[in-house]
Amino acid sequence: MKKISMLMAFISLLALADPQPVKLRLALNWKPEPEFGGFYDASLNGIYKKEGMEIEILPGGVGTPVIQMVEAGKVEMGISNSDEVILGRSQGAEVVSIYAVYQTSPMALLTHSERGFKELKDVFENPGTIAAERGLPYIRFCEKKYGFKNVKVVPFLGGITQFLSDKKMTQQGFITAEPILAKKQGANPKTFLIADSGYNPYLTVVIVRKDFAVKNPELVKKFVKATQEGWRNYLKNPALANKTMVSLNPTMDPETFQEGAKAQIPLIETAETKKFGLGYQSKERWKELASQLLELKVIKTTFPAETYYQ
């Protein structure tokens, strides 16, 4: 009996010294790449732990149904995009965005620079093929704005094979990865940001269930704070997180990680984030995006902008 009570005392002492961290799972929508650097940094440097949480980062892949996973409670947090959040909400998903990594969307079209294009609209006005994920709203936006009279849009197969195998091929990609890989393979890509068309969703946003955010406001605040710190570290010195991510995703070489991390800085750190902090989301941007999607007829109704994020 005495032994048991001593043991109990010891356990409670342990618990006092080191309160059990809250365990949370964060589902990524892609393999570990520089776009997730800040999350890995915050995890590796113990920043989340300092805030009393333990974040398990779950890598994703092609078609990982992150919104569905969050909605079903399989994970507490997930990585999505702001247009996906608005589409999901219109289908009944009760999710909310709490942090936006990219202020400017890194989604871009890669063209062969030999074709001499000067701006995004040239890509659509000259005969050629565009490999894109045709379910994504950006390509509909471009169709409406520029028209597809001169181009043929084919499914995007991932990677850069399509781009390399055809001189008249344009393909989608993240400015932080595909152009760097294409250059390595001997191609000479000229890249245009989709954001220049006027369609600029927040990419790589962290989503949680609405009821989770309502029940755990402090936890969400702490997560955002720790994530900001992780991203500040990663923007300055990506080496540590990159090393871990390379081991988790060996298909991308260390050099590309390094270059990608550098290329994405201006998309993450903007005048607005310098004023309001990294991960900032503005009501105007959410509102504009929702009305763009409504106009594209990919959703039938919108919600008040402030219900999409917090």
């Binding site: 919104i67 909605e71 079903a72 009944g92 994920e133 379910g135 084919v154 499914p155 094979t161």
Partner: protein
């Protein structure tokens, strides 16, 4: 129980029960309609998107049909070629088994590069996954002809051609029909996978609807693909019954 009750009424009751429970579970929000859309939402998508779905279904039916016919023709004829010579048989038979395990989803992107976007890549994908079961089952059928009959054919000095047409092919017919049932189901799966990347047909709708978070439309398209597969398999069943009912025990019962 009357056969009518057993064959029509009971499955109907089961269907209505399952669909009602499904609808209810989503309506009372035990499951979010965003995770599993309720039957009425799927029906709604079938009606609302009917033009798009119908056009896609026609394309997919064409591709599946071409894949199936190619598998049937090339599958049976390559099995016969393998059968004609023991050397050829031993040389190639292991590969017909090996190629059945090709993970089509992994090579589908290459098919698009090799054959071009659209229907050619889709047919190639449907054909690759559906041809080997035909080869394997036809070959098994050819190899399991009745030894007594083989002796009889030898005794009467039947030519190789006569033996093939009058003995080996008829006796392998039940095996071929079984192979074709598998082939039909796989041709649909292979074609849908091809369409994810080829960018046409029902598979393309599934791919696009998924990116747009239209889970109801994904289910509507999946339902159509399944019905297509079912229709194909039922047609093969019917042909098999007509061909075999008079002499083979496997079909000597009512359908």
């Amino acid at each position: 129980m009357k056969p009518m009750v057993r064959k029509v009424v009971l499955p109907l009751i089961a269907f209505v029960a399952i669909v009602s429970i499904w609808e209810m579970v989503v309506r009372v929000k035990w499951i979010s309609s965003f995770i599993l859309p309720e039957p009425s939402a799927i029906l709604n998508s079938l009606i609302e998107d009917r033009e798009e779905l119908w056009g896609a279904l026609k394309t997919t039916t064409f591709s599946v049909g071409v894949s199936f016919v190619l598998s049937l023709a090339l599958g049976i004829s390559s099995a016969i070629i393998l059968f004609t010579s023991e050397t050829v048989l031993f040389a190639f038979y292991p590969y017909t088994i090996f190629f059945q395990t090709v993970p089509i989803i992994a090579i589908a992107p290459l098919l698009v590069i090799w054959f071009g976007y659209g229907i050619p890549a889709v047919v190639a994908s449907g054909f690759i996954v559906s041809v080997f079961p035909v080869v394997a089952s036809t070959l098994t059928g050819l190899l399991s002809a009745d030894p007594n009959l083989k002796d009889l054919f030898k005794l009467y000095r039947a030519s190789r051609w006569q033996s093939l047409v009058k003995l080996y092919l008829p006796s392998s017919l039940p095996f071929i029909m079984n192979g074709l049932r598998i082939c039909g189901g796989l041709a649909v799966i292979g074609a849908i996978v091809g369409e994810f990347l080829g960018g046409v047909g029902v598979g393309s709708i599934i791919d696009v609807a998924r990116a747009q978070q239209r889970i109801d439309k994904v289910f509507a398209a999946v339902l159509l693909a399944s019905l297509l597969g079912l229709l194909l398999i039922k047609t093969i069943d019917l042909v098999s019954y007509l061909l075999l009912r008079n002499w083979h025990p496997s079909e000597a019962k009512d359908l």
